[in-house]
């Protein structure tokens, strides 16, 4: 193990208050067994899965209940044995509406489970590992939920030399990845080696922000005499973004419209890596999500290993309920998370946090005209001009917005965070991206 000597700083970004202290020292706990779960068929980016069970069916733990519906899709499994109660459209915590399989959970998993057979990864081929990752329904846990099997098969002509394990976790409040590195460092190291074998890379670099000293220590211990490297990254938002962690670790830049594989890199979130270890070594599909439940409305903030499909109220109850009634609920982190209009929704594989804020800490504001201060331009980690883009969108000049590279925006929210006029800059960019994206797809 060695620490990386040179870290490349990226331009832009912000330094919000981390609020990590509430939960950084609290170990991951299993969620108490829920009575009902609602497993959405849209846990990932791409085509929603197709349910392969019927109402009334008995399902066994780890059984596949949804089939992938195309190359960019993913299988879905049930975390518990039980009976399928209904199959109907409903919303997830991230407000995505898709078919959901609701299961009445058995009091225990008495019948044998449907786990897959373990694989000896040291002798497994690329195809075997990728097939297992696909069968286990593993998707990127960083937030977007891109099917991992697709990432492990780079396009022809591209070779990957560096596997980057993303333990930056730059979103305030969240500690799921931090706790995972502290408690499951050995599994992360194993998973990283499985990925390295699958893609034929030479290097493994674990990127961790310097505000997680315990995680750095644990990972260093797990790697031991192994040939992995640790990059201690300065804590700066959005350090955990794929393009930015690649730049920080290797100094390489992923150009517009290119993939990390084009610069020889593969980035996987630490929970994705642990999921790969579980799938390959133990044969367990992706049915658990680590998440932080916090915010000042929660009585006792905690970190959970929660089954996918667990309902948000069950997780709130496990964290001692609300100390104060919340005024705002967020799925994910406060920067890129999505406000939840309804709490009777299940979590998915991409839900990294559930945050509840009291009226006292929620800042509701009206937005004003741009004062031309340029702070958003300094904060944008992609080098865009959010002020100009938002004014183009307001004037309905989407051609100008496209020229200003709005499609490069990955909605990190740094611009809106620093805007003194409280302009809804991210919402403007999102609108422009949705409309321009639809036009580009129609053109193809």
């Amino acid at each position: 193990m060695k620490f990386l000597d040179k870290i490349f700083r990226f331009a832009g970004g912000i330094a919000p208050d981390g609020h990590k202290g509430d939960t950084s020292g609290i170990p991951l706990r299993r969620l108490p067994r829920p009575q009902t779960i609602s497993v959405s068929m849209s846990q990932h980016i791409g085509a929603p899965s197709v349910p392969c069970v019927k109402v009334g069916d008995r399902v066994r733990r780890y059984q596949r209940i949804g089939d992938a519906a195309g190359p960019i899709s993913s299988a879905v499994h049930t975390p518990f044995s039980g009976v399928v109660k209904s199959i109907a459209p409903s919303s997830t915590a991230s407000t995505r509406v898709a078919t959901a399989v609701t299961i009445a959970v058995d009091p225990d998993d008495a019948d044998t489970d449907a786990s897959l057979s373990p694989i000896d990864w040291r002798s497994a081929s690329h195809d075997e590992i990728v097939a297992r990752v696909r069968d286990a329904g593993i998707v990127g846990a960083g937030g977007a939920g891109f099917p991992t099997a697709v990432k492990l098969s780079p396009p022809p002509g591209r070779s990957i030399d560096t596997v980057i394990v993303n333990g930056a976790e730059c979103e305030p409040y969240l500690n799921g990845d931090n706790r995972l590195m502290i408690e499951r460092a050995a599994d992360i190291w194993t998973g990283a080696q499985i990925i390295r074998r699958a893609v034929g890379a030479s290097r493994i670099v674990v990127g961790i922000e310097d505000n997680k000293p315990e995680a750095i220590k644990a990972m260093a211990g797990a790697i031991g005499a192994g040939d992995g490297e640790i990059a201690v990254l300065p804590h700066s938002y959005p350090q955990g973004s794929e393009k930015h962690i690649i730049h920080s670790v290797t100094g390489r830049t992923v150009q517009t419209g290119h993939l990390p594989a084009d610069v020889g890199c593969l980035v996987e979130n630490v929970w994705t890596v642990v999921s790969i270890t579980r799938a390959v070594v133990q044969g367990v599909p992706s049915v658990i999500r680590t998440l932080t439940i916090g915010g000042d409305a929660i009585a006792s903030p905690a970190n959970f290993a929660a089954p996918i499909g667990a309902m948000v109220p069950d997780i709130i109850a496990a964290a001692g309920g609300f100390g104060v009634q919340p005024a705002k609920a967020v799925c994910g982190g406060p920067m890129m998370g999505i406000a939840m209009p309804d709490l009777q929704v299940p979590i998915t594989k991409t839900c990294s946090g559930l945050l509840f804020f009291t009226a006292a800490s929620v800042h509701e504001f009206g937005s004003g005209p741009c004062i031309g201060c340029g702070r958003c331009i300094g904060a944008c980690p992609m080098g865009l001009m959010p002020a100009e883009i938002s004014q183009a969108v307001e004037a309905n000049d989407l051609a100008l917005a496209e020229k200003l590279k709005v499609m490069n925006c990955f909605e990190c929210g740094s611009c809106a965070y620093v805007c003194p006029a409280h302009r809804p800059l991210v919402q403007h960019n999102r609108r422009a991206k949705a409309i321009i994206g639809a036009r580009l797809r129609a053109r193809k």
């Binding site: 407000t95 209009p341 504001f365 919402q427 403007h428 999102r430 609108r431």
Partner: protein, 265 residues
Amino acid sequence: MDGILNAIALLGAMGCVCGLALALAARYLGVKEDPRVGKITEALSGANCGSCGYAGCAAYAAAVANGTAPVDGCVPGGAAVASAVAAIMGVDFSGGDEPKVAFVKCGGDCDSATRRFAYNGIADCAAAAAVAGGDKGCPHGCLGYGSCANVCPAHAIAIAKGIAVVDESLCIGCGACVKACPRHVVELVPRSARVRVFCNSTDPGAAVRKYCSRGCIGCRMCVRNSAEGVVKVDGNLAHVDYSVPFDGDAAVAKCPVKCLRSVDA
């Protein structure tokens, strides 16, 4: 003295030459405009609303003059303008469609309709509808962020108590608002149709009751209290057939949620 005379002579000569050049240019290089275009442009309403499908009144007038546009294309002008244009063009024009007016098919104002969450973003209906499906409890109703009012060339739409309301005395019936509404709540109806359904929700009655006290529940009371065929309930929502005369007093009185109303009331 000579200097002044020379200057006058020189300028006079230059004036004559330039005047001659301009006269010749006008004679031989002039673009001949159909005199009817100017007359038609003057006869039009001048709203530049685009409802005729052309980029403003002048473009429409040119299209009429060269015979590619119908004489009754000016929506705000109605029959009066159409007859005037027909007279200029020397063609017959009679009747024409009844003048239309924009109508917001929603009565779910802030007193009667629920909101699912507090929306704190761009004041635009399409933007609001993209956030978790919109903040309004009703997935079909007017969001009230004024996208229709922003495009109205006649300033005939105002947002009152959270929903868009059309001032029919100002509305020119151009239909710009119909295109701007992401939820298709606004439609053009005949100006003479006074009794209308103030609801756009096709959800079952039980669902409607949860999010709006003024929403149509599809109870068919209006159908039973009107002449056959005038009101139909289709997809849990009442529809009035505007092509037939409808004295809706009895049906209006019986509507339990008061979504069937007269616009004059």
